[in-house]
């Protein structure tokens, strides 16, 4: 497989005809999509138009590279629905900051990828009404993982150099990365601008890269990172990178992540790979995160989602209905008709958690437990540069198994990933092997802004 940087060099030197290559990539995307449902829309005319421009002027760090974009990220003039029916027909009038950045570097945007509606899911099965569920690239009877399922699937199956932009609120970049066997990195909260991202939970959402190699992921991360005045939660751009002393790299294995609920084979694979990597390591404990992380995460995420989704009411964009009745009747009618079941479930729980009488016990209490969780991680980072756990406790489940899960059992599947997401810590999925033909992922977690340590550790693990 040609890496993104070597492909780009060939584009710069004129060895590759970008127009011709893009046509092949689009044909492949259409063919794969018919079988696997990775795209909500393939942006053929935009891609062809961009290819012509790059062919004439082959410049930029992503010159001619096909990039797929999670549907929740706005691309100007390309239907962007966040995997929901209520936004069917919505073509943003502007590009998200990450899109502006990759376009500037010569990327070719080939389409918007399938996802759980507004990011509400761990398996990419909660797609919007009338939309198709993406199928796992290794076994079509299994899930891709969510919510950025389509992004992970196409990154795995495309035979050409490919990058994707996913988004994570509670694990939606690394979970599909693990189930589909691709490298996927969720950056520090605020490192990448959220401007133009259709929000799920503002204090949790991060846009991050997916790629076939760690170097590809690193390249895309560096391009999309940086302060953005359009996003008030954007962090200042770091001018100096932390130097990593590989000899003194110390890794902590989260012991609670290896207990009950984790497939014993996955546990053994993780311990073996860490042993063989020669990275100095020890087992560490995150008791509060492990015990209360899922409850804290879901209360906060649903509370934020229930306010964020209030803007979808059939007035300014997306789905409309004939104006009948007063505003209460009209808004309730549009929302009830076009939101799917999981969106309704999360709006109800989130609204409940914020209501007078319940707010202190649920929403505010969860914001305080979040502080405890952040403190728990920060304490470990005084000794360890990187922490490790399985990305998911199981390999990608079959759809028939997912159908049997209650909502609570579904939410519990995020037990590994909610911690770093609540704490806004950078984390990454690295594939460490296969179990019964399905990929197994290891998740590395680093302190805020310590993506360099995360990437270096990932490169060592990858070589084992």
């Amino acid at each position: 497989m040609v890496s993104v940087s070597s492909f780009v060099k060939k584009v710069h030197s004129g060895e590759i005809d970008v127009v011709e290559h893009t046509a092949k990539v689009l044909d492949e995307a259409k063919k794969i999509n018919k079988e696997y449902n990775y795209f909500n829309i393939i942006s053929e005319s935009l891609a062809k138009q961009q290819a012509k421009v790059i062919q004439k002027n082959p410049k930029g760090k992503l010159a001619g590279i096909p990039v797929s974009i999670k549907d929740a990220i706005c691309v100007k003039d390309v239907e962007s629905t966040a995997g929901s029916r209520i936004l069917t027909g919505y073509k943003p009038l502007f590009d998200a900051t990450v899109i502006e950045k990759i376009k500037k570097e010569g990327a070719i945007i080939i389409g918007k990828t399938s996802q759980d509606t507004f990011g509400f899911g761990s398996f990419a099965t909660n797609v919007g009404l009338g939309m198709q569920i993406p199928l796992n690239p290794f076994d079509k009877t299994r899930a891709c993982g969510g919510s950025s399922g389509g992004s992970a699937g196409i990154t795995q199956l495309s035979q050409y150099p490919h990058l994707s932009l996913g988004e994570s609120t509670g694990g939606s970049i690394v979970a599909p990365g693990s189930f589909c066997g691709v490298n996927a990195l969720c950056p520090t909260y605020g490192k990448v601008s959220r401007y133009g991202l259709m929000d799920y939970g503002n204090s949790l959402d991060k846009i991050g890269p997916m790629g076939k190699t760690i170097e590809d992921v690193e390249l895309l991360l560096n391009i999309i990172s940086g302060h953005d005045p359009k996003d008030s939660t954007s962090l200042p751009t770091r001018t100096s990178q932390k130097t990593i002393d590989l000899k003194n790299l110390h890794l902590g294995i989260v012991k609670e992540s290896l207990g009950k609920g984790t497939d014993p084979k996955i546990k053994d694979m993780l311990l073996n790979v860490v042993d063989e990597s020669d990275i100095k390591h020890a087992q560490v404990s995150l008791p509060i995160t492990q015990k209360y992380g899922v409850s804290t995460y879901y209360l906060l995420a649903m509370a934020e989602a229930s306010t964020n989704l209030s803007k979808y009411c059939g007035m300014r964009y997306g789905q409309h209905e004939p104006l009948k009745g007063n505003f209460n009747h009209y808004f309730s009618h549009v929302r009830s008709k076009h939101f799917n079941e999981e969106a309704k479930r999360r709006i109800i729980i989130g609204t409940f958690a914020r209501m007078a009488g319940y707010r202190d016990a649920f929403y505010l209490k969860a914001t305080k437990v979040r502080t405890k969780i952040i403190e728990e991680y920060k304490k470990l980072f005084k000794t360890y540069e990187v922490l490790a756990s399985p990305t998911m406790p199981i390999v990608a489940p079959k759809f028939e198994e997912i159908d049997k899960l209650s909502p609570l059992q579904n939410y519990m599947m995020d037990i590994m990933t909610v911690g770093p997401n609540l704490a806004g810590l950078p984390h990454m999925n690295v594939t460490i092997g296969e179990k019964d033909g399905m990929p197994v992922g290891l998740m590395l977690i680093a302190d805020h802004n310590n993506e360099p340590a995360l990437l270096e550790a990932a490169k060592i693990i990858e070589k084992v």
């Binding site: 300014r316 409940f352 649920f362 437990v369 979040r370 909502p407 609540l422």
Partner: protein
């Protein structure tokens, strides 16, 4: 805490959702189970802990009070079916 049909209907009304009888029947036991499980956070001692509304420290990010480019009225109205006299047309207020 009593989670019943009336409470779900009230929450749904606040959230501008009209649930069907079938949805309420399905959601009621699920929400009881989820909310009871999430109540476990009450066991964490947070007496001397402050809230984290963000995971990283952020200071007020204010821009200079200067006019800048924004959507034109025509652009802003280009995605709606409901408009009149160059404004959005909404449902009746009462």
């Amino acid at each position: 805490m009593k989670i019943d049909k009336e409470l779900i209907e009230h929450v749904a009304e606040v959230a501008r959702l009209k649930l069907t009888k079938e949805e309420i029947k399905k959601f009621l036991p699920e929400l009881k189970q989820v909310i009871s499980a999430f109540s476990d956070i009450s066991k964490v001692d947070t007496k001397s802990t402050s809230s984290s509304f963000q995971p990283v420290e952020l200071k007020n990010a204010l821009r200079e009070d200067k006019p800048s480019k924004c959507l034109t009225q025509k652009q802003a109205l280009s995605l709606t079916e409901h408009k009149k006299d160059n404004y959005f047309k909404g449902p009746k207020a009462v």
